[in-house]
Symmetry: C2
Subunit: 149 residues, 2 copies
Protein backbone atom coordinates (compact mmCIF):
# COMPACT_ATOMS: atom_id res chain seq x y z
CA UNK A 1 0.00 0.00 0.00
CA UNK A 2 2.88 2.36 0.60
CA UNK A 3 3.35 4.41 -2.54
CA UNK A 4 6.22 6.46 -3.76
CA UNK A 5 5.64 9.52 -5.83
CA UNK A 6 7.38 9.70 -9.18
CA UNK A 7 9.99 12.34 -9.91
CA UNK A 8 7.66 13.91 -12.43
CA UNK A 9 4.71 14.06 -10.03
CA UNK A 10 6.87 15.46 -7.31
CA UNK A 11 8.00 18.28 -9.58
CA UNK A 12 4.44 18.97 -10.55
CA UNK A 13 3.49 19.19 -6.88
CA UNK A 14 6.44 21.41 -6.14
CA UNK A 15 5.73 23.79 -9.00
CA UNK A 16 2.04 24.09 -8.35
CA UNK A 17 2.58 24.84 -4.69
CA UNK A 18 5.34 27.31 -5.49
CA UNK A 19 2.97 29.38 -7.61
CA UNK A 20 1.06 30.36 -4.50
CA UNK A 21 4.20 30.61 -2.38
CA UNK A 22 3.77 27.27 -0.65
CA UNK A 23 6.17 24.45 -0.02
CA UNK A 24 6.27 20.71 -0.34
CA UNK A 25 6.02 19.15 3.10
CA UNK A 26 6.19 15.47 4.00
CA UNK A 27 2.49 15.52 4.81
CA UNK A 28 1.54 17.11 1.51
CA UNK A 29 3.67 14.63 -0.35
CA UNK A 30 2.01 11.69 1.36
CA UNK A 31 -1.49 13.02 0.79
CA UNK A 32 -0.72 13.74 -2.83
CA UNK A 33 0.72 10.29 -3.37
CA UNK A 34 -2.42 8.74 -1.91
CA UNK A 35 -4.52 10.58 -4.47
CA UNK A 36 -2.32 9.46 -7.33
CA UNK A 37 -2.04 5.86 -6.16
CA UNK A 38 -5.71 4.99 -6.30
CA UNK A 39 -7.87 7.24 -8.40
CA UNK A 40 -11.17 6.13 -7.00
CA UNK A 41 -12.39 9.53 -5.80
CA UNK A 42 -11.74 8.97 -2.11
CA UNK A 43 -13.38 10.98 0.64
CA UNK A 44 -11.32 12.93 3.14
CA UNK A 45 -11.69 10.07 5.55
CA UNK A 46 -10.49 7.54 3.05
CA UNK A 47 -7.50 9.69 2.18
CA UNK A 48 -6.82 10.06 5.88
CA UNK A 49 -6.79 6.33 6.54
CA UNK A 50 -4.70 5.50 3.49
CA UNK A 51 -2.19 8.21 4.27
CA UNK A 52 -1.85 7.01 7.82
CA UNK A 53 -0.52 3.71 6.61
CA UNK A 54 2.52 5.61 5.47
CA UNK A 55 2.56 8.36 8.09
CA UNK A 56 0.83 7.17 11.27
CA UNK A 57 0.93 10.49 13.10
CA UNK A 58 -0.86 12.43 10.37
CA UNK A 59 -3.90 14.32 11.59
CA UNK A 60 -7.28 14.66 9.97
CA UNK A 61 -7.08 18.44 10.04
CA UNK A 62 -3.89 18.26 8.02
CA UNK A 63 -5.57 16.11 5.42
CA UNK A 64 -8.30 18.75 5.14
CA UNK A 65 -5.63 21.41 4.87
CA UNK A 66 -3.64 19.61 2.22
CA UNK A 67 -6.63 18.81 0.07
CA UNK A 68 -7.85 22.38 0.25
CA UNK A 69 -4.40 23.60 -0.68
CA UNK A 70 -4.25 21.27 -3.66
CA UNK A 71 -7.66 22.36 -4.87
CA UNK A 72 -6.57 25.96 -4.43
CA UNK A 73 -3.55 25.56 -6.65
CA UNK A 74 -5.38 23.50 -9.25
CA UNK A 75 -3.71 20.16 -8.59
CA UNK A 76 -6.91 18.28 -7.94
CA UNK A 77 -10.67 18.69 -8.24
CA UNK A 78 -13.43 18.38 -5.71
CA UNK A 79 -16.36 16.15 -6.53
CA UNK A 80 -19.63 16.64 -4.71
CA UNK A 81 -22.72 14.56 -5.00
CA UNK A 82 -25.87 15.64 -3.22
CA UNK A 83 -24.69 16.35 0.28
CA UNK A 84 -22.43 13.36 0.67
CA UNK A 85 -18.85 13.79 1.81
CA UNK A 86 -16.68 15.61 -0.66
CA UNK A 87 -14.50 13.40 -2.82
CA UNK A 88 -11.25 14.28 -4.54
CA UNK A 89 -9.87 13.45 -7.93
CA UNK A 90 -6.51 14.16 -9.57
CA UNK A 91 -7.91 13.92 -13.09
CA UNK A 92 -7.60 17.43 -14.47
CA UNK A 93 -8.88 16.73 -17.97
CA UNK A 94 -12.41 18.03 -18.50
CA UNK A 95 -14.71 15.24 -17.49
CA UNK A 96 -18.10 14.48 -16.05
CA UNK A 97 -18.90 12.09 -13.23
CA UNK A 98 -21.19 9.13 -13.17
CA UNK A 99 -22.24 7.96 -9.75
CA UNK A 100 -23.36 4.36 -9.62
CA UNK A 101 -26.48 4.10 -7.49
CA UNK A 102 -25.72 0.49 -6.62
CA UNK A 103 -22.13 0.75 -5.48
CA UNK A 104 -21.72 4.46 -4.77
CA UNK A 105 -18.65 4.38 -6.96
CA UNK A 106 -17.82 7.41 -9.09
CA UNK A 107 -16.67 6.98 -12.67
CA UNK A 108 -14.98 9.62 -14.78
CA UNK A 109 -16.61 10.25 -18.14
CA UNK A 110 -14.68 12.09 -20.80
CA UNK A 111 -16.27 15.39 -21.78
CA UNK A 112 -15.42 16.26 -25.41
CA UNK A 113 -14.97 19.92 -26.36
CA UNK A 114 -18.04 19.95 -28.61
CA UNK A 115 -20.24 18.86 -25.72
CA UNK A 116 -18.77 21.56 -23.52
CA UNK A 117 -19.46 23.97 -26.33
CA UNK A 118 -23.07 22.86 -26.59
CA UNK A 119 -23.45 23.39 -22.87
CA UNK A 120 -22.00 26.88 -23.05
CA UNK A 121 -24.38 27.67 -25.86
CA UNK A 122 -27.47 27.28 -23.70
CA UNK A 123 -26.49 30.21 -21.49
CA UNK A 124 -28.25 33.49 -22.22
CA UNK A 125 -25.97 36.47 -22.86
CA UNK A 126 -24.52 37.92 -19.70
CA UNK A 127 -23.80 34.57 -18.08
CA UNK A 128 -20.10 33.91 -17.90
CA UNK A 129 -19.30 30.45 -16.53
CA UNK A 130 -16.02 29.78 -14.75
CA UNK A 131 -16.86 26.16 -14.14
CA UNK A 132 -19.27 23.63 -15.60
CA UNK A 133 -20.20 20.52 -13.69
CA UNK A 134 -21.94 17.57 -15.22
CA UNK A 135 -22.92 14.60 -13.16
CA UNK A 136 -24.93 11.54 -13.94
CA UNK A 137 -26.60 9.27 -11.49
CA UNK A 138 -27.82 5.79 -12.29
CA UNK A 139 -26.83 2.20 -12.79
CA UNK A 140 -23.59 1.09 -14.36
CA UNK A 141 -23.60 -2.50 -15.59
CA UNK A 142 -20.48 -4.51 -14.84
CA UNK A 143 -18.80 -1.89 -12.70
CA UNK A 144 -15.36 -3.34 -13.45
CA UNK A 145 -15.72 -3.01 -17.17
CA UNK A 146 -15.42 0.74 -16.94
CA UNK A 147 -12.60 1.53 -14.59
CA UNK A 148 -12.26 5.03 -13.26
CA UNK A 149 -9.83 6.94 -15.46
Amino acid sequence: MIQNISEHDRENLQESLAKSGQKVTPQREVVFSVLLAKRDHPTVDEVFHRARETMPGLSLATVYNCLQTFVGCGLIRQVNHERESTRYCPNLAPHAHFRDAATGRVHDIELPPEVIQSLRSILPPGFDPEAIEVSFHGRALAGDAHPTL
Copy 2:
Protein backbone atom coordinates in the same frame (compact mmCIF):
# COMPACT_ATOMS: atom_id res chain seq x y z
CA MET B 1 -46.43 37.61 2.01
CA ILE B 2 -49.25 35.25 2.83
CA GLN B 3 -49.98 33.21 -0.25
CA ASN B 4 -52.88 31.13 -1.27
CA ILE B 5 -52.45 28.12 -3.40
CA SER B 6 -54.45 27.95 -6.64
CA GLU B 7 -57.06 25.30 -7.20
CA HIS B 8 -54.93 23.78 -9.93
CA ASP B 9 -51.80 23.63 -7.77
CA ARG B 10 -53.75 22.16 -4.91
CA GLU B 11 -55.03 19.37 -7.12
CA ASN B 12 -51.53 18.74 -8.38
CA LEU B 13 -50.30 18.47 -4.79
CA GLN B 14 -53.18 16.21 -3.87
CA GLU B 15 -52.66 13.87 -6.80
CA SER B 16 -48.92 13.60 -6.44
CA LEU B 17 -49.17 12.80 -2.77
CA ALA B 18 -51.95 10.32 -3.39
CA LYS B 19 -49.74 8.29 -5.71
CA SER B 20 -47.58 7.29 -2.78
CA GLY B 21 -50.53 6.98 -0.43
CA GLN B 22 -50.02 10.29 1.32
CA LYS B 23 -52.36 13.08 2.17
CA VAL B 24 -52.57 16.83 1.92
CA THR B 25 -52.08 18.35 5.35
CA PRO B 26 -52.20 22.01 6.31
CA GLN B 27 -48.44 21.98 6.84
CA ARG B 28 -47.75 20.45 3.44
CA GLU B 29 -50.02 22.94 1.78
CA VAL B 30 -48.26 25.87 3.40
CA VAL B 31 -44.80 24.57 2.55
CA PHE B 32 -45.83 23.89 -1.01
CA SER B 33 -47.35 27.34 -1.39
CA VAL B 34 -44.12 28.90 -0.17
CA LEU B 35 -42.20 27.11 -2.90
CA LEU B 36 -44.64 28.25 -5.56
CA ALA B 37 -44.85 31.82 -4.34
CA LYS B 38 -41.20 32.74 -4.76
CA ARG B 39 -39.19 30.52 -7.03
CA ASP B 40 -35.79 31.64 -5.88
CA HIS B 41 -34.46 28.24 -4.82
CA PRO B 42 -34.84 28.75 -1.09
CA THR B 43 -32.95 26.72 1.50
CA VAL B 44 -34.83 24.73 4.12
CA ASP B 45 -34.28 27.54 6.54
CA GLU B 46 -35.68 30.09 4.17
CA VAL B 47 -38.72 27.95 3.50
CA PHE B 48 -39.10 27.51 7.24
CA HIS B 49 -39.12 31.23 7.95
CA ARG B 50 -41.44 32.08 5.08
CA ALA B 51 -43.87 29.34 6.00
CA ARG B 52 -43.95 30.49 9.59
CA GLU B 53 -45.40 33.82 8.52
CA THR B 54 -48.51 31.89 7.59
CA MET B 55 -48.32 29.12 10.16
CA PRO B 56 -46.38 30.27 13.23
CA GLY B 57 -46.33 26.92 15.00
CA LEU B 58 -44.72 25.04 12.14
CA SER B 59 -41.58 23.17 13.09
CA LEU B 60 -38.32 22.89 11.23
CA ALA B 61 -38.48 19.10 11.22
CA THR B 62 -41.82 19.27 9.48
CA VAL B 63 -40.35 21.47 6.79
CA TYR B 64 -37.64 18.87 6.27
CA ASN B 65 -40.29 16.17 6.18
CA CYS B 66 -42.50 17.98 3.70
CA LEU B 67 -39.67 18.85 1.35
CA GLN B 68 -38.44 15.27 1.40
CA THR B 69 -41.93 14.04 0.73
CA PHE B 70 -42.34 16.41 -2.21
CA VAL B 71 -39.02 15.37 -3.69
CA GLY B 72 -40.04 11.75 -3.22
CA CYS B 73 -43.24 12.16 -5.18
CA GLY B 74 -41.64 14.26 -7.89
CA LEU B 75 -43.27 17.58 -7.06
CA ILE B 76 -40.04 19.48 -6.64
CA ARG B 77 -36.32 19.09 -7.23
CA GLN B 78 -33.36 19.38 -4.92
CA VAL B 79 -30.53 21.64 -5.94
CA ASN B 80 -27.13 21.14 -4.38
CA HIS B 81 -24.07 23.24 -4.87
CA GLU B 82 -20.80 22.13 -3.36
CA ARG B 83 -21.71 21.36 0.21
CA GLU B 84 -23.92 24.35 0.79
CA SER B 85 -27.41 23.93 2.20
CA THR B 86 -29.75 22.11 -0.11
CA ARG B 87 -32.10 24.34 -2.07
CA TYR B 88 -35.48 23.46 -3.53
CA CYS B 89 -37.12 24.31 -6.79
CA PRO B 90 -40.60 23.61 -8.16
CA ASN B 91 -39.51 23.90 -11.79
CA LEU B 92 -39.90 20.41 -13.18
CA ALA B 93 -38.93 21.15 -16.75
CA PRO B 94 -35.44 19.85 -17.56
CA HIS B 95 -33.07 22.64 -16.71
CA ALA B 96 -29.57 23.40 -15.54
CA HIS B 97 -28.56 25.77 -12.77
CA PHE B 98 -26.27 28.73 -12.87
CA ARG B 99 -24.96 29.85 -9.55
CA ASP B 100 -23.83 33.46 -9.47
CA ALA B 101 -20.54 33.70 -7.60
CA ALA B 102 -21.23 37.30 -6.65
CA THR B 103 -24.72 37.02 -5.20
CA GLY B 104 -25.05 33.30 -4.50
CA ARG B 105 -28.31 33.40 -6.43
CA VAL B 106 -29.29 30.39 -8.51
CA HIS B 107 -30.74 30.85 -11.99
CA ASP B 108 -32.58 28.23 -13.98
CA ILE B 109 -31.23 27.63 -17.47
CA GLU B 110 -33.39 25.82 -19.96
CA LEU B 111 -31.87 22.55 -21.11
CA PRO B 112 -33.03 21.70 -24.66
CA PRO B 113 -33.55 18.06 -25.61
CA GLU B 114 -30.68 18.04 -28.08
CA VAL B 115 -28.24 19.11 -25.40
CA ILE B 116 -29.53 16.40 -23.11
CA GLN B 117 -29.07 14.01 -25.99
CA SER B 118 -25.49 15.11 -26.53
CA LEU B 119 -24.82 14.55 -22.85
CA ARG B 120 -26.27 11.06 -22.94
CA SER B 121 -24.14 10.29 -25.94
CA ILE B 122 -20.88 10.67 -24.05
CA LEU B 123 -21.67 7.72 -21.78
CA PRO B 124 -19.99 4.44 -22.69
CA PRO B 125 -22.31 1.46 -23.17
CA GLY B 126 -23.51 -0.01 -19.89
CA PHE B 127 -24.08 3.33 -18.21
CA ASP B 128 -27.75 3.99 -17.71
CA PRO B 129 -28.44 7.45 -16.27
CA GLU B 130 -31.54 8.10 -14.20
CA ALA B 131 -30.66 11.71 -13.65
CA ILE B 132 -28.38 14.25 -15.26
CA GLU B 133 -27.29 17.35 -13.41
CA VAL B 134 -25.69 20.30 -15.05
CA SER B 135 -24.53 23.25 -13.06
CA PHE B 136 -22.61 26.32 -13.97
CA HIS B 137 -20.76 28.57 -11.66
CA GLY B 138 -19.60 32.05 -12.53
CA ARG B 139 -20.64 35.65 -12.92
CA ALA B 140 -23.99 36.77 -14.19
CA LEU B 141 -24.08 40.36 -15.38
CA ALA B 142 -27.11 42.39 -14.40
CA GLY B 143 -28.63 39.83 -12.06
CA ASP B 144 -32.10 41.25 -12.49
CA ALA B 145 -32.09 40.98 -16.24
CA HIS B 146 -32.37 37.21 -16.03
CA PRO B 147 -35.00 36.38 -13.50
CA THR B 148 -35.23 32.87 -12.17
CA LEU B 149 -37.82 30.98 -14.18
